[in-house]
């Protein structure tokens, strides 16, 4: 018996280098980078590189619609036919993850929470951006430490400023294990409209 898959939170940086494997058990490529949709906090797909030490980027990409499953150890696809030319998926460079990293997170009441060091994704039926890993500023009690800040489910990932509702500071986690519950609680609060 295999154990059921638990709710899986991933750091975006962990996905880089992860193998892309067909259901037939063949290695197709490695994940190079994540392509974010410009709105809505969803993943549009992945750019690829060939496996191995001196790997080259590839001209094809993996759209999210072609992904069968994203796990701790591999990104699964039905077969190689799901890949599309990269220009169909990522017409603009600014959709990439690198834009978010190093940006400052501001609350909507103007407080700087810190610098983004990673993006936290939830892997389910889609791969959603649920939070940022941030090098905390003095606004948070844990200045200097890395903490996780939840995002509303309607958040644009790449904008000029990364603005989160002030209530997000109440749902900061210090570890990824407890962060899933924090995201759920934070989003439930926003839906109640009491933020």
């Amino acid at each position: 018996m295999t154990t059921p898959t638990p709710m899986l939170l991933l750091r975006a940086s962990e996905l880089a280098g992860r193998p892309v494997v067909t259901l037939g058990g063949e290695l197709v490529a490695e994940i190079k980078d994540i392509i974010f949709e410009r709105t809505g906090g969803r993943i549009a797909g992945f750019t690829l590189r060939n496996p191995g030490l001196f790997s080259r980027s590839r001209k094809d990409s993996l759209p999210w619609s072609g992904v069968h499953g994203v796990g701790r150890d591999a990104v699964m696809v039905s077969d190689e036919t799901v890949l599309v030319p990269s220009k169909e998926l990522a017409p603009r460079k600014q959709a990439h993850k690198a834009d978010v990293l190093e940006d400052r997170v501001l609350t909507d009441n103007g407080r700087d929470l810190g610098r983004v060091v990673d993006v936290v994704l939830h892997s389910g039926t889609s791969l959603d951006v649920v939070g940022y890993e941030v090098q905390a500023s003095e606004v948070l009690g844990t200045a200097g430490q890395r903490v996780f800040i939840p995002l509303p489910d309607t958040m644009a990932v790449s904008g000029e400023h990364l603005i989160v509702p002030a209530a997000a500071t109440e749902f900061v986690s210090e570890d990824l294990a407890g962060f899933g519950a924090a995201v759920s609680a934070f989003r439930a609060r926003l839906r109640e409209g009491t933020s």
Partner: protein, 144 residues
Amino acid sequence: MLFSQARKRNVVNTTTATRVGRVDGFVVLPGPARVALLRLGKVSGAGTLLAWEDLQGFGPDAVTVPTDAVIRPPRDALEQRAEDNDLEIMGKRVLTERGMELGPVTDVDFDPETGAVTSLITKTETIAGQQLIGLGGYAVVVSA
């Protein structure tokens, strides 16, 4: 019967009563999971593959064949990969279709009457043969 027990078994031609090879490996195919071919060593001819349907019997002491002619070279690209040992299931990493690794295959249990694979065994799990989705050069893929 486990692959670990069945390996190294002699293959005997029942017409001439001579040993014609030794079982070196198993080629498993999905849908349904089964032993499709045996990979032989210590053969006299050029071929090393023996299709399951060409077997007379897979007994506790020997594998029997009616004639040497059933031991043959690969017929297609898949069989070529099998002969090159690219598709060997033993020791290959198991991935679920959700992308979770379950460790390498340490053994495989099969029915010597039919060739059906009943379970895949890893250090921590026993996975039913029906869960096998695919077997390639990189991984054994099983349903979650």
